[in-house]
């Protein structure tokens, strides 16, 4: 197993409703989807986002498009319209989730390596 940023195997988009943020995380290839299912869990996401997310995180699955949807409550500084943040909608949270680290089987790691993606220190 080798460690990579999630960015190397998935793309993401984040959106808002009130004080709730959601992030769609989509695998670039079907073979990467199990890695996301195993490792991009609500618990790990909660830890990764530190104090940005004050409420629970629920994860929904969309296996036909190799995606998960993370719904994060109390995640937007009290609501888009009152927040003091420069990113009140949390649209940049899609970039934050892609900084999560994931362990990747050697076969997939070799493919990522051929694409010029950088392995991280374990």
């Amino acid at each position: 197993m080798k460690t990579f940023y999630l960015r190397e195997i998935a793309h993401a988009r984040a959106g808002d409703k009130g004080d709730t943020n959601n992030i769609g995380v989509i695998a670039y290839a079907p073979e990467y989807y199990p890695i996301i299912l195993d490792q991009v869990t609500p618990e790990r996401v909660q830890a990764h986002f530190k104090d940005l997310v004050k409420g629970p995180i629920t994860r929904y699955l969309l296996p036909r498009v190799n995606a998960i949807n993370l719904v994060m409550e109390r995640a937007l500084g009290g609501g888009v319209t009152r927040s003091l943040s420069l990113d009140p909608h949390g649209k940049s949270y899609s970039a934050l989730i892609l900084t999560m680290r994931v362990s990747v089987p050697d076969e997939i790691a070799a493919r990522l390596d051929r694409q010029g993606r950088t392995v991280l220190d374990a």
Binding site: I26, V71, G79
Partner: protein, 458 residues
């Protein structure tokens, strides 16, 4: 333009000409000119847009609709009239009647052949909400509205496709609404043209799945997607806005015009499908609860994706309402430090301002200090910098009940240029009123809609 309600067998073409109040004008004009469209939809209302428009209307009774209505219609109406393209838009915002009156003037000024202008009223439920403030609860938190401080300035229910279908059935060529579910603007033409039943939930679910793909306009055709080296998008400056090709059985292709920039593929569609939804098996719209979990995305050609497998469940009993409430003021002040030791100087500046706020007795409900260039968006969750930054922008943002406290905060930031650490940029300061939006649910029976259709022109 003959009415074809319920009889269509050929493909229906619906273009998405806008996805927010200030969206670009020319891509929609291009769609109107070259898209062979049956319908052109402009979606221009974010959560807070109507509340802001209502404040404009209070100042000027003729205002309160989309500020770019003139630009959009002067450019697109001649094409739409010539090509038989009908327009559906929520550009009416807080004043659909005013928008319709202005549209009639534009039709006359352009000397177009006669058109029917439809106005949808009834989304404004301010009176109901004021009368029932004691009984309303904030949708997400259950907090009673009665406990929220501040003056209510607007309350608008998300109407469904049914009112637009009514206007289409009465022959309207241009329909101006206030708040309507974003997807419903696109679903209404499908229902009208194919004669879909309003309780055929799976068919409505398929229609809304297509509508969801384009309700954020170019977000499905390459906007907000590019990440160089990972997700490359060609010719973003000439981004083409999307259009739907809808068949009577609810099979939908999303595509864009030849010769435009951008990209439509499975990845752009997947991102857009999940955007701003919660439970993908239960996406609530006024017309149908949509289930996206069975949706398949299939590339049917360059910049063409076929969407199948959407499903639906019965529509909700209650309608969502967005309520705008004035809740104090936000002051923001920023200043940049550069060179060796810039972070240390910014930290000293933060300490000075915090102390000055205490000395001045400035009353803030919340104060936030950001170091732009280090961690302003993600705080403690940010990756650590590889080296000390060459410059850092210090930002203070504070919310206060009274305007004078927000002003005092930004003035303290401003004085840093002469009284704080050395070697800074000029500061900038902003003060604005907070218009907070809260959602609640109200019974359908509380909403009385009205559709007006008038013939305009020679």
């Amino acid at each position: 333009m003959a009415d074809t309600a319920g009889k269509r067998t050929r493909v229906l073409r619906i273009g998405a000409g806008a996805s927010y109040a200030g969206d670009r004008v020319d891509p929609a004009t291009d769609l109107a000119a070259r898209g062979s469209l049956d319908y052109l939809v402009y979606e221009t209302l974010a959560e807070r847009t109507i509340a802001l428009a209502q404040l404009e209307r209070l100042k000027d009774p003729k205002a309160g609709y989309n500020e770019l209505l003139d630009d959009r219609f002067y450019a697109a109406l001649p094409h739409c009239r010539k090509n038989g393209t009908r327009i559906v838009t929520n550009m009416g915002a807080a004043n659909p009647r005013g928008a319709a009156a202005r549209t009639a003037e534009i039709i006359r000024e352009l000397a177009l052949e006669p058109m029917r202008v439809g106005t949808v009223l009834g989304d404004d439920v301010m009176e109901y909400c004021l009368r029932n403030r004691d009984r309303l609860e904030v949708m997400e938190t259950g907090v009673p509205f009665a406990s929220l401080e501040g003056e209510i300035v607007s309350a608008n229910a998300y109407l469904g496709a049914d009112v637009i279908v009514e206007a289409l059935a009465r022959g309207a060529d241009i329909i101006l609404t206030g708040r309507v579910g974003d997807c419903s603007l696109f679903l209404a033409p499908m229902i009208h043209e194919f004669g879909w039943r309003m309780d055929d939930w799976d068919l409505l679910g398929k229609g809304q799945t297509g509508a969801d793909m384009v309700e954020c306009g170019a977000n499905v055709s390459g906007a907000f997607f590019a990440d160089p080296g990972y997700k490359d998008v060609p010719d973003l400056a000439n981004l083409g806005y999307p259009l739907l090709e809808v068949e009577a059985d609810g099979t939908i292709i999303v595509t864009k015009l030849e010769g435009t920039g951008g990209l439509i593929n499975r990845a752009t569609c997947a991102e857009q499908m999940i955007y701003e939804i919660h439970d993908p098996a239960n996406y609530i719209t006024p017309d149908v609860v949509v289930d996206f979990t069975g949706v398949s995305l299939e590339e049917a050609g360059p910049n063409r994706v076929r969407i199948t497998g959407g499903r639906g469940k019965p529509r909700p009993e209650r309608l969502k309402v967005s309520v705008g409430i004035k809740q104090g003021w936000i002051g923001e002040g920023e200043i940049t430090y550069a060179g060796l030791g810039c972070v240390e100087r910014a930290k000293l500046a933060e300490q000075i301002v915090r102390e000055r706020l205490g000395i001045g007795g400035v009353d803030l409900e919340e104060l936030r200090v950001d170091y732009i260039g280090l961690n302003s968006l993600h705080g403690a969750a940010s990756l650590p910098p590889a080296a000390p930054p060459y410059e850092v922008r210090l930002r203070f943002a504070g919310r206060a009940k009274k305007k004078r406290d927000a002003v005092k905060l930004v003035n303290e930031v401003e004085t840093l240029v002469g009284k704080g650490p050395c070697s800074s940029s000029l500061p900038r300061k902003y003060v604005r009123e907070v218009l907070a939006i809260y959602s609640c649910l109200i019974p359908r029976a509380a909403v009385r809609t009205e559709v007006i259709v008038e013939k305009v022109g020679k």
